[in-house]
């Protein structure tokens, strides 16, 4: 009798375990709206790769328990198509959204996500207005302040007295340039501001103006890859008497080091990682390994940001599923050391801990030079590519 009861109990336990397991195991579909074609295709693709790595790693980590699927729609670098993409993804039943690039695209896209009641997490839009709208569903892991802090910190360390800021007339780049201007002017630095249009393909007249009229110690560039190449190429031809060329995002990357070795030597840009990548933490090593397996190349900062935002989202989804709460509520509870530093979210969905690092191209490598506690080498200063 006892043996029979034991057998029954064991069977019941196994059945219960299987039953409970089956009830808990869930498939989660995440939505991604990113620019995979159009002007922002390069950066959109970079973020998409990071998101894909996060999904892949989560599927390995939670194998047999949960599975994660990514539905991606290309917004073609168009705000209207981004809204349509978000609405379509909402209709497909995704649990939350990750991705987006460009503040002018993320604005309406996250508005649509908010209307659909879906969490939208990004690292592609840094303009302050995005987190001033009071959306409870909007989160981002980086912001203008973090980039400005890094650029200003480096310029202070250089003891620059005159700085020319050459910046693209888009929302995010203008905000960052003006933020840098205010901070530097407040410290008694003479700042010359030079706005340019995205269609500019010859920067010689602009750089010549900087060279002959401003005569700065440092040129600070706020734009995107093709803008940097244009400015640096013009500067290499005109050879202004400056001590450094400093940029922000998309500049201190392995891609730029490989593609434009003649232009990049001694140029600074924001960078979370040195190149070649040096990962010591196990999670970071796993990230780099997965990235290389999936895409056959070293990860860059875009992939890193895409990975971090998606990993945090997945964790929040699982917590919300287990506790029966909302994903936004769980994301707001985030306090996590990540590949880009500690991430928490304030009531606006911003990460107040975000501060970037500055890297410098040196002989085909990117060396982290600011802040001192993150540096893995010394800055070559003064130093320009010509």
């Amino acid at each position: 009798m006892i043996r029979r009861l034991t057998g029954l109990a064991a069977t019941a336990a196994v059945a219960l375990a299987i039953g409970v397991g089956a009830a808990q195991a869930k498939d989660f579909v995440l939505g991604e709206q990113s620019p995979l074609s159009g002007n922002l295709a390069r950066v959109g693709q970079g973020m998409h790769e990071g998101i894909s790595v996060a999904i892949d790693m989560a599927n390995k980590q939670y194998a047999g328990k949960h599975s994660f699927k990514l539905e991606t729609i290309d917004d073609e670098t168009s705000p209207a198509k981004a809204v349509a993409a978000v609405e379509k993804l909402a209709g497909m039943g995704v649990v939350a959204l990750t991705g987006g690039y460009g503040s002018n695209i993320i604005g309406p896209a996250s508005e649509a996500a908010n209307k659909a009641g879906l969490v939208y997490i990004t690292s592609g839009g840094v303009t302050p207005e995005l987190t001033e709208r009071g959306h409870k569903t909007f989160f981002r892991i980086n912001n203008t302040d973090g980039y400005a802090t890094a650029m200003i910190g480096l310029l202070e360390e250089m003891k620059a007295k005159k700085v020319s800021v050459v910046y693209l007339n888009k929302e995010a780049t203008s905000n960052l340039a003006k933020s840098v201007q205010r901070a530097l002017a407040g410290k008694g630095v003479t700042v010359g501001m030079h706005e340019f249009d995205g269609a500019t393909n010859d920067f010689k007249p602009l750089v010549n103006k900087v060279k002959l009229q401003d005569r700065p110690d440092v040129v600070a560039m706020v734009g995107y890859e093709n803008d940097y190449v244009g400015i640096l190429r013009a500067a290499k031809v005109l050879k202004p008497d400056v001590k450094a060329m400093v940029g922000v995002w998309s500049l201190a990357t392995s891609q730029m080091a490989k593609e434009f070795p003649d232009l990049m030597e001694n140029v600074y840009g924001t960078s979370m990682l040195p190149y070649p990548v040096e990962f010591t933490a196990p999670e970071a090593q796993e990230f780099a390994k997965t990235y290389k397996t999936l895409f056959g190349k070293e990860p860059d900062y875009l992939g890193q940001f895409g990975y971090v935002q998606t990993k945090l989202l997945i964790q929040a989804i699982l917590r919300a599923d287990a506790a029966g709460t909302g994903i936004a509520d769980e994301l707001r509870k985030t306090d996590e050391p990540t590949l880009i530093g500690r991430v928490t979210f304030n009531e606006k969905g911003d990460n107040p801990n975000f501060s970037h690092r500055m890297g410098q191209h040196q002989k085909g490598k990117v060396v982290l030079v600011w802040p001192a506690d993150a540096a893995n080498g010394k800055a070559v200063f003064p130093g320009v590519p010509w």
Binding site: S37, G38, R42, G44, H194, K204, P205, N208, E259
Partner: protein, 292 residues
């Protein structure tokens, strides 16, 4: 002040040369067929990417990639023509839709083949600086392709004005029916102008690759600029294309130097509108060039 002005003028001149090399192929097709080939910029871009592929994979000098690019781009131009030739009704409007669609297809094919990264030549000789009179600065590639572009445009102008085929193109542009009565084969002449436009696009693509950065979305930007210059020039006018392009290049350059770089596109558009207001047929668009 003088240094700034001279450099602005020089940079504007070189930029105008680039614009002209991109626009001349579009102007030729527009003049012959009354067709705005909205895939023109993508054909130029295709040549640029072929030069990139040749340089990055096989270490070829971009100029040596011209023969291969010529074959691919001319073949692509011939396909565009073959599709356009099938339009039987409302050719002007339907050709816009067709070529726009072909442009989108080409952009996406380029994106799929070469990804979205930006590229430019790594040829040190091309990128070296040229300094004239210790005041005027440029990249060697800019000067080389400016001079070569002028020579090419002169050759096209001579071909149009001196050769029988060139005269046939102009005759077709001026009066299609009269040209047919004079023994001009419209289809043959049109395909010829498309092939010549393909050759010009190839040259422009190599010039762009050696002096600027290329990325998949650039094709559309070049089409718009080429269209503005073509209309500014007056339909089918080669000298008009050169002068219009240089005017736009110079005004953009002066706007950057003496106003703000962010206003340069606006300045070009204002010039465009002013010219069209004063001369609705464009700079060199006499009445002869307009009617069919």
């Amino acid at each position: 002040m003088l240094e700034l002005t001279l450099q602005a003028l020089f940079s504007g001149l070189l930029a105008g040369g680039y614009y002209a090399t991109v626009a001349v192929g579009l102007a030729l097709v527009f003049g012959t067929m009354r067709v705005i080939n909205l895939a023109h910029g993508e054909l130029v871009l295709l040549a640029a990417y072929i030069a990139y592929a040749g340089e990055s994979r096989y270490g070829l000098n971009p100029v040596l990639c011209i023969p291969f690019a010529l074959v691919v781009v001319c073949a692509s131009a011939a396909i565009v023509y073959a599709l356009l030739a099938r339009i039987e009704q409302d050719r002007e409007m339907n050709s816009l839709i067709l070529t726009f669609g072909l442009g989108v297809i080409l952009t996406n094919l380029i994106l799929m083949t070469w990804a979205a990264d930006i590229h430019s030549t790594t040829n040190a000789w091309m990128l070296d600086s040229v300094v004239l009179a210790d005041t005027l600065f440029a990249m060697r590639s800019e000067v080389v392709f400016f001079v070569a572009g002028l020579a090419l445009m002169a050759a096209v102008h001579l071909w149009l004005s001196r050769s029988w085929q060139g005269r046939a193109v102009r005759a077709l542009s001026s009066n299609r029916n009269a040209a047919k009565l004079m023994g001009v084969d419209p289809s043959r002449t049109e395909v010829l102008s498309f092939l010549v436009a393909g050759a010009l696009s190839t040259f422009a693509g190599i010039a762009i690759y050696t002096g600027k950065t290329i990325y998949p979305a650039l094709g559309h930007v070049m089409t718009v600029k080429a269209f503005i210059i073509t209309v500014l020039a007056g339909m089918g006018s080669i000298p008009g294309v050169l002068i219009g392009a240089i005017m736009i290049g110079v005004i953009e350059s002066f706007t950057v130097t003496y106003a703000a770089a962010s206003l340069q596109e606006l300045a070009g558009m204002v010039l465009f509108l002013v010219v069209l207001f004063v001369a609705p047929s464009g700079l060199f668009g006499g009445k002869k060039a307009l009617p069919r």
